[in-house]
């Protein structure tokens, strides 16, 4: 009976760790959450999380649980919900069965913004304050639109391909192509400014900063994994934009 319950706790903890890491929590947060929940459930749990594997094991016994996360985009709503669940569980406001049920519910479905809201969000990110008073106002308006198209293209790409870098290549290719065509037609003043703005939703600035943060915290392994991933994404964006600009040049007759 006791064995059965322990396995159950480990399973739920594994799922919690997986959701947290996949939705963009830091590895230290994952490890401390698991330790907290273990303590509240009456088991001393040890957790080691990296970007490619999470190990959970009991302090005394021989039971170990291994989870392979598949890190994708940020989904901070999930992190917040798991966080408040673990707070409630530690304060003994909910029992273990309730926790298990809620965690499984979060794994399946979580509140998300509608597509329209996300599209407007991508557009707003594209009007980056970096460009204010440097680019013309019409270019900023175009960056809003091109950014939306690029974001949609990358989402379309991620639906149709399992390769993680292909979606950003698709998105940045569309952005490079559109910006240069707009400049050729004469609507836009500067293709370079539009490209910079529209790339903002795709560019891996936050993951890069997070990776250095983990390295500073001496989580060197997962920091390096995140950092290399960010560099690969930036490289894919660079390639996509250049190919897009090149296609625009060919389409408009020049080389």
């Amino acid at each position: 009976m006791a064995e059965k319950r322990l396995e159950n706790i480990m399973d739920v903890c594994g799922l919690i760790a997986k959701i947290l890491l996949e939705s963009g929590a830091e590895t230290t947060r994952v490890e401390s959450t698991i330790a907290f929940i273990g303590k509240a459930a009456g088991v001393e749990l040890n957790c080691h999380a990296t970007m490619t594997a999470i190990f959970i094991s009991t302090e005394s016994g021989a039971t170990t649980h291994l989870v392979k996360p598949n890190v994708s985009a940020f989904n901070l709503q999930k992190v917040d919900e798991i966080n408040s669940l673990s707070r409630q569980f530690s304060a003994h406001e909910i029992d273990f069965d309730e926790l298990e049920r809620s965690v499984q519910a979060i794994d399946h479905q979580v509140i998300d913004f509608t597509w329209l809201q996300k599209i407007i969000g991508a557009g707003l990110v594209s009007v980056t304050p970096m460009l204010l008073f440097k680019a013309s106002w019409s270019d900023l308006a175009l960056a809003f639109l091109v950014g939306i198209v690029g974001y949609l293209a990358s989402q379309w790409g991620s639906k149709h391909s399992k390769s993680p870098y292909l979606s950003v290549i698709v998105g940045s290719l569309v952005i490079g192509l559109l910006a240069n065509l707009l400049q050729y037609v004469g609507i836009a003043d500067s293709a370079a400014n539009i490209i910079i703005g529209s790339l903002m939703p795709l560019v891996p600035g936050v993951p890069l900063t997070n990776s250095l943060r983990e390295i500073i915290d001496r989580d060197i392994l997962s920091g390096l994994v995140r950092g290399i991933d960010a560099i690969m994404i930036a490289g894919s964006i660079g390639i996509g934009t250049i190919v897009g600009s090149f296609m625009a040049h060919i389409l408009t007759g020049g080389i």
Partner: protein, 146 residues
Amino acid sequence: MELAVQFIVSFLSTIGFGIITNVPRRVLFLAGVTGACGWTVYLLTAQVTSNIILQNFLGALTIGLLANIVAVRIKAPVNMLYVPGLVSLVPGIVIYTSLKEFTLGNYINAGRNLIRTLVIAFAIDIGFAIAESIFRRVRYRIMHRS
């Protein structure tokens, strides 16, 4: 006037990134204010010095302090606030430029921008680490005032 426009645009930009990363709705507005304050500090510093380390350091310090205070008040994890809040400061475009130059074969520009990226990211991270340790000292007082 210019500063007010910058504040509003960076507020909207932060909220936009918050929507893409699916930040909980109760945090969205506060995250926007945090990000906009950080960007304003960055701009104000830019008028005094052209040192990118100092600008990014002070911007990140502001965001770090505000994010930690807000996070304790509304009982949410800190990264809800700083992931969208940092979007205007973070060197995303610089690393893109670096790798674009790399693809085009301009290795000197590529290397220069890569080092610039690392310098900015380090400045932001150190600003954050310092904000967190300052906050840990005053945390008790803030929690018991509410």
